[in-house]
């Protein structure tokens, strides 16, 4: 169905074979790791820069403003200018802070988001590693970032930071459940935990369309829970600007602050791409029916465009949330999870299991 020119499996395999031909398997693996690392590093930086710019533009348009418009045409180089500023800023040493943990925390946060990106299939055959338990891997790794946040809050010896960190801990622990359970509904449908397998299962239609209402419900729950898990508004209690000045990263400056900042955006990208992979067919094009002209036109659009297009739509929705709603209070945040999202999710899974047993889905 998909065109072979858009299949990256051949490309990656030929690179692998080429490397193995000139060096020993161990060195080939090492070179591949370095290559992948470089590619992801560049991708990471580009996506980060773009997302920061996108968020500033989105919030500006929502608020009747122009947004960045000074550096470069329509301000597209603004984030690069900001990055240079952040790189050159002084790193303020904090008295009485736990130096080691204080310095390590931003790296933990950023490494966690780095690890999660490895499992994301950008196109057919274009992923660093295809676990057979891909979903579990992503869930597990994406919640590692909170360790960094907790450390940052605890080690900076500031009361605001500590409250922020504790809030973040409570928040991630609760919302992790909903994220996992809402993903599980699709696992039940698809019958596999491998991300590539889930995408393949959507070749004849995305799960959000063919999964009836339960997939819809799971998608909404996943959107809410993942927004909360990435500490973004209206769930940005960990940094709650009006209450805790800047929450867990109050004491950070310069490039260390930039790491937190970048990690927040990358986490958003990761959860959005997970939503796309699980619910919206990943890199699969949009199809209606079978074999008609519309489907053929859709097939010509490269999968990478499909993937990033869908991801940015989801990211836009998350930004839309942030710039519309007031922030929740900590107890309401937990109420929302334990009294609303979790029961809904559990019933949803039961319902899905029933549907699958009876074979009533497409």
């Amino acid at each position: 169905m998909t065109f072979n020119i858009y299949d990256f499996t051949e490309l990656t395999r030929s690179i692998d074979d080429g490397l193995k031909a000139v060096m020993s398997p161990g060195w080939a693996l090492f070179t591949e790791l370095v290559l992948i690392g470089l590619v992801f590093l560049i991708l990471y930086a580009l996506i980060g820069l773009f997302l920061v710019y996108a968020e500033r533009k989105v919030c500006a348009f929502i608020q009747n403003r122009l947004g960045p418009n000074r550096v470069g045409p329509v301000g597209i180089f603004q984030t690069i200018a900001d990055l240079i500023k952040l790189l050159m800023k002084e790193l303020i040493p904090i008295k009485n802070a736990d130096k080691l943990l204080f310095n390590i925390a931003p790296f933990i946060v950023i490494i966690a988001s780095f690890m999660a990106i490895a499992a994301i299939p950008f196109a057919k055959g274009l992923h660093a590693i295809d676990f057979n338990i891909g979903i579990f891997y992503v869930i597990a790794v994406s919640s590692l970032g909170v360790v960094g946040i907790l450390l940052a809050g605890w080690s900076s010896n500031s009361k605001y930071s500590l409250i922020g960190a504790m809030r973040s801990g409570a928040q991630v622990i609760s919302y992790e459940l909903s994220v996992g359970l809402s993903l599980l509904t699709i696992v039940v449908f698809a019958g596999t935990m491998q991300l590539s397998g889930i995408i393949e299962s959507q070749a004849n239609g995305w799960w959000i369309f063919k999964g009836h209402i339960p997939a819809m419900v799971a998608f909404v729950v996943f959107l809410i829970a993942s927004t909360a898990e990435t500490n973004r508004g209206p769930f940005d209690l960990a940094e709650a600007e009006s209450e805790l000045t800047a929450g867990f990263h109050t004491e950070y400056s310069g490039i260390k602050f930039a790491f937190f900042f970048l990690a927040e955006f990358m986490n958003m990208f990761i959860v959005a791409s997970m939503a796309v992979t699980i619910f919206l067919g990943g890199w699969m094009p949009l199809h209606f029916g079978t074999g008609n002209l519309f489907n053929h036109i859709m097939d010509f659009i490269p999968p990478l465009v499909w993937f990033f297009g869908k991801t940015f739509v989801v990211i836009y929705i998350m930004m839309w949330f942030k710039w519309t709603f007031p922030r929740l209070r900590i107890d309401q945040l937990l109420t929302l999870e334990w009294k609303y999202l979790l029961p809904i999710n559990l019933f949803n899974i039961l319902f899905v299991a029933f549907l699958t047993l009876m074979g009533w889905h497409f």
Binding site: C59, I62, Q63, N64, R65, K159, Y160, I163, R167, G233, P234, D236, L237, A240, E241, S242, E243, T245, W323, T324, F325, P326, R327, L328, R329, I330, D331, Q332
Partner: protein, 375 residues
């Protein structure tokens, strides 16, 4: 004995988790400091500390002549600058028994209501932002710009008009004043429902404000909480009704009263007042009487010996101006009964038992302007 009290109040108990909200904090709209003792996220005690921008306006007034005092009062509650000016002017006019032309009282009342709307708009922006809805800030300021343009066209300044003088106004309104006010009202009647859609009806906002920190009517009176915050508790404290000045006596308007007294009620009173102020403006805009824009005043004003008190309703509550004159051209003593001063201290009664996020919402709903507290 003195030291013992200080120690008790500032330090609290040993195991308390104390944090400072302010003086440099994004949600204290000015330099105010709350010393908050927490247990987890729950507030045990709040002690407000003020005086960071105390400028001694009352002392400065003692060396200034009456026209000079007026521009100092702008700097107290800068968001209701015109009402503050008017309070001093009314007090001086009452003391000197000056008959002010009808055009002046008319225009002053219109400016009062415009200032009130502008102030409530800014409050709405900040309230939303305190709650974490950052977009409200831009919508409110966008609409407020229209009022500031009206002020700028007529009087040349935006936030602080400095247009009142004992006996009238410094300059007449611009010929385009009425047209602009009408345009503003028709514009704002369209935009105000958006405020409700965006924030008032929002389920998160409701959860955060409904039933939070209710203030009973008795407590409101005991603490002297006036203005919209007092009226939300059912304390009918509108000076425009109880001791009418200007032409409020002739006007047909409602005093917005609610009985719940919680954060949502305080919010809703202000939204209601914006509608009510537009009603007042509509009654006034078409029939501004012709005439002089100032009464004939002597070059040097001397008040007769005595004491004079004038109450005015500003956008935050009741402002009282108390002037003691010994017959000189400068007053002997001036006291401003600032509305925010009384409104501030009720927070140490309201906040305990609620979460730290609620403290921000409560102080937002009390709508404090710090220079008015410190003076």
């Amino acid at each position: 004995m003195q030291e013992e009290i200080i120690k008790n109040i500032i330090l609290g108990e040993e195991e308390d988790y104390l944090i400072n909200v302010g003086p440099q904090h994004p949600s204290t709209h000015g330099v105010l400091r709350f010393e908050v003792s927490l247990q987890g996220e729950t507030i045990k005690k709040v002690v407000p500390h003020c005086g960071y921008i105390h400028r001694g306006i009352e002392k400065m007034c003692e060396r200034d002549t009456y026209p000079q005092i007026i521009h100092l009062t702008d700097r107290m509650d800068y968001l209701s600058a015109h009402m503050n000016n008017e309070a001093v002017c009314l007090c001086v006019e009452k003391a000197m028994e000056v008959e002010v032309p009808e055009r002046v009282t008319h225009v002053r009342t219109m400016l009062d209501e415009l200032t009130r709307i502008a102030s409530h708009q800014l409050w709405w922006c900040a309230m939303g932002m305190d709650m974490g809805a950052l977009t409200t800030f831009f919508y409110g300021l966008r609409d407020r710009e229209h009022i500031l343009d009206i002020f700028e066209e007529s009087f040349g300044t935006r936030l602080i008009q400095s247009v009142n003088t004992p006996g009238g106004l410094m300059q007449d309104i611009h010929p385009g004043f009425q047209k602009r006010v009408k345009e503003f009202i028709s514009y704002f009647r369209k935009k105000l429902p958006e405020y409700d859609q965006l924030l008032t009806d929002n389920v998160i906002f409701r959860e955060r404000s409904e039933g939070i920190a209710p203030l009973s009517r008795e407590d409101a009176i005991q603490y002297g909480v006036t203005g919209p915050s007092g009226r939300a508790s059912g304390f009918s404290c509108d000076v425009r009704k109880s001791e009418p000045y200007g032409i409020y006596k002739k006007l047909n308007f409602k005093e917005i009263l609610r009985t719940e007294g919680d954060t949502l009620a305080r919010y809703k009173v202000r939204i209601g007042e914006m509608y009510e102020s537009m009603n007042i403006l509509e009654q006034l805009v078409d029939n501004i009487p012709e005439g002089d824009y100032t009464a004939k005043m002597k070059a040097v004003l001397r008040l007769p010996v005595g004491e004079f008190f004038q109450r005015v309703e500003t956008s935050r509550g009741e402002l009282g101006v108390y002037i003691v004159s010994d017959g000189n051209k400068t007053p002997y003593r001036v006291k401003f009964r600032a509305p925010n001063f009384s409104n501030l201290f009720v927070i140490s009664k309201l906040a305990p038992g609620y979460k730290i996020a609620d403290l921000i919402a409560i102080s937002g709903s009390l709508d404090l302007v710090i220079p008015d507290i410190d003076r």
